[in-house]
Symmetry: C2
Subunit: 125 residues, 2 copies
Amino acid sequence: MAEKKLTNDNVEICDCADVHENLVHLVEETMPEETELYDLAELFKVFGDSTRIRILFVLFEAEVCVYDLAEALNMTQSAISHQLKILKQSRLIKGRREGKHIFYSLADDHVRSIIAEGREHIEED
Amino acid sequence: MAEKKLTNDNVEICDCADVHENLVHLVEETMPEETELYDLAELFKVFGDSTRIRILFVLFEAEVCVYDLAEALNMTQSAISHQLKILKQSRLIKGRREGKHIFYSLADDHVRSIIAEGREHIEED
DNA sequence: ATTACTTATGAGCACTTGTTCATATGTTGA
DNA sequence: TCAACATATGAACAAGTGCTCATAAGTAAT
């Protein structure tokens, strides 16, 4: 494939061997939809806060109400409640009402898998 | 186990059945170190941006230099370079110099696994 | 109905983050 | 050495985030 050169302006041109058009096509073919990319980023953003990570680790072990979460993590009820809302919106956890309490638990096992993969990465070498 | 009641002040007390002390102990036993929690959150924070996600999807397919990444994603060289630095610091990608170019590629397969797990989660139901 | 308890939520604030712009650093070839 | 290209980086700014505080909403028991 020919090198890509523009003659009339100052655009900088990188002529990495034959990569340009091929790459653009490859990207167009394999890159997920914009909305999926956005959703993926939003999901990982939820994991990207140590308070939420700590909440998830508690829920790995037990179904827990808001007040107990706050006590176990030594944080205010309000702070925990705000974070639970975010976790719930991402369908990572679910709440079950029982009288005055709402018990939270993991929504499914993806949470465990994702965190396990993350731990593997940071624990190597 | 007895309910927990304080008599002298207004502290609100949740008496979820027998959970308190057990939960605190459980958390102390199973919760990872503070530094690991922090590192985990930092790692997921890196995945929590759609520009970085897009960069990773390109690198799933090929080893690419900065300029081509910028072109493929229709972003400035500077923006891409800043993000590459973050990805490199998290050891998700690595760079290989070849003349004037620096070709970036995935550091290992954890990236693929983590993103695959994320996609599974958002694609269900 | 009133009180006490549990959870949710809105506003405000300090802090973080991603991009742009300008510029520096590094590499190659003439 | 100089010019051109490729990449990295610091400052600045807008936008987003997590906590606190005050308060609302929901539930149960008296």
